[in-house]
């Protein structure tokens, strides 16, 4: 069963096109990573899915219903970001008690244990927390709500590396015990790729790639060596990135449609065959220039 289904979804803000003709679906009980550069439309997409924003055109269904103004979707969806509307007069412990009454699957024991583990102060007000502590608290609420659809929109803003690691682990553990559909937008693909089942990559409001996460690492391959040799081996292939390397050498990242023998031939011809990480692949696939930032500095 699909929890989210989009067909030709578009969203405009005035003259700005935030999402354009987006079609994809997200299966029940999977963890999906939503990635893409700043301004790609990640937050807009998530807010439409959560029912916070109205679409402009096309179709989106969440739990088989249009999400905007929909009680079923609201009751089963939790949206975590750094802008959560929490009652300003309640302290953290009172906020947890309030949240508990809203969500039927709420696990208060889990909330309290996480609260303790991360050494939050129950008497403190949310608005007085540091950026990282705020994110930590929001994450605790998001996990404890155990909603059938849980959306984390850049949940790790301000968290230190240790807290982020704990959060990923907590997310995976709780997901294993209580499977549900989780969407996670982040700029830190390297940190989260192992716990993801799928990755949805956006670029300028459009879908660039939607793949099982473990296929991303094999999707592209890098060849480095003498320019003419690299060109010979990459002829006819989709080139994602080309960088000058030394005097006569270049690095080219291409779609990995090589056979094993072809790669061995490339090695024999003196080329280095390098893996392209999921994170680099996403950067290559969404950057506007094929040479990257170096294009700014090479003005010849």
């Amino acid at each position: 069963m699909n929890v989210i289904e989009c067909r030709g979804l578009s969203k405009r803000f005035g003259r700005t096109v935030a999402l354009h003709d987006l079609s994809f679906s997200i299966k029940e009980n999977t963890i999906t990573g939503l990635v893409g550069p700043n301004g790609a439309g990640k937050t807009t997409l998530l807010k439409i899915a959560a029912g916070f924003l109205r679409k402009t055109a096309g179709e989106i269904k969440v739990f088989s219903s249009p999400p905007f103004n929909n009680l079923k979707v609201s009751a089963n969806t939790f949206f975590v970001d750094d802008n959560m509307a929490l009652p300003a007069t309640l302290n953290l412990s009172e906020t947890l008690d309030a949240a508990r009454r809203f969500y039927p699957n709420w696990d208060h024991q889990l909330a309290l244990r996480l609260f303790d583990y991360f050494s939050l102060n129950p008497r403190q007000l949310h608005k007085n927390l540091s950026k990282g502590m705020k994110s930590t608290f929001n994450m605790i609420v998001g996990l404890s709500a155990r909603c059938a659809l849980t959306i984390f929109d850049e949940p790790t803003v301000g968290m230190d590396a240790a807290v982020r690691k704990d959060f990923y682990r907590a997310l995976l553990q709780d997901y294993l015990q209580h499977p549900r559909t989780i969407i996670f937008s982040s700029h830190l693909l390297k940190e989260i790729e192992d716990i993801l089942e799928e990755v949805l990559l956006l670029r300028e409001g459009q879908k660039r790639l939607h793949l099982p996460a473990d296929q991303l690492r094999e999707y592209a391959v890098g060849l480095r060596g003498e320019e003419d040799t690299v060109k010979r081996f990459t002829a006819g292939k989709e080139i994602y990135r080309r960088e000058q390397f030394g005097k006569n050498s270049i690095f080219a990242a291409v779609r990995n449609s090589f056979t094993k023998t072809e790669l061995q031939e490339a090695c024999a011809a003196g080329l280095e065959v390098l893996p392209v990480s999921a994170e680099d692949l996403c950067i290559y696939l969404t950057s506007r220039s094929r040479g990257g930032i170096d294009d700014v500095f090479n003005r010849n």
Partner: protein, 120 residues
């Protein structure tokens, strides 16, 4: 870098080869593996399915996956083939560097001797 599900299936093979999990015994579930390796359970399932396709594991409906009686034999055969393939690459490299066959054999003997000494 090797995909995680391949790293996982190799780890399981080594567990079977070393006798930590024996023929007929139930292997870890995809959820146990996900927790152990901090990975998505779908990725863990892929690692298990590779071994099931190679008949190293077999499925019992509703009970999970078990180590097949021929598992050790299949893994050994597969690993030997991998050694052969790596050896072919090594020989190719040696040819490129003009290392003679007898010199290569001397190197292998020396390497084996050193390993033995390190173990002792």
């Amino acid at each position: 870098m090797k995909p995680i599900y391949l790293q996982l299936s190799e780890w399981l093979e080594t567990e079977i080869l070393s006798g930590n999990i024996t023929a007929g015994e139930k292997i870890y579930s995809q959820y146990q593996l996900a927790e152990m390796f901090n990975i998505n359970p779908a990725t863990a399932a892929k690692g298990l399915n590779i071994l099931a396709d190679e008949k190293i594991l077999y499925k019992k409906r509703g009970l999970g996956m078990f180590v097949s009686p021929e598992a050790g034999e299949i893994i050994l055969r597969k690993r030997r083939e991998q050694v052969r393939a790596r050896l072919r690459e090594l020989v190719k490299e040696a040819e490129l560097l003009d290392i003679s066959e007898s010199e290569l054999i001397t190197m292998i003997t020396a390497a084996r001797k050193r390993n033995k000494e390190e173990r002792a």
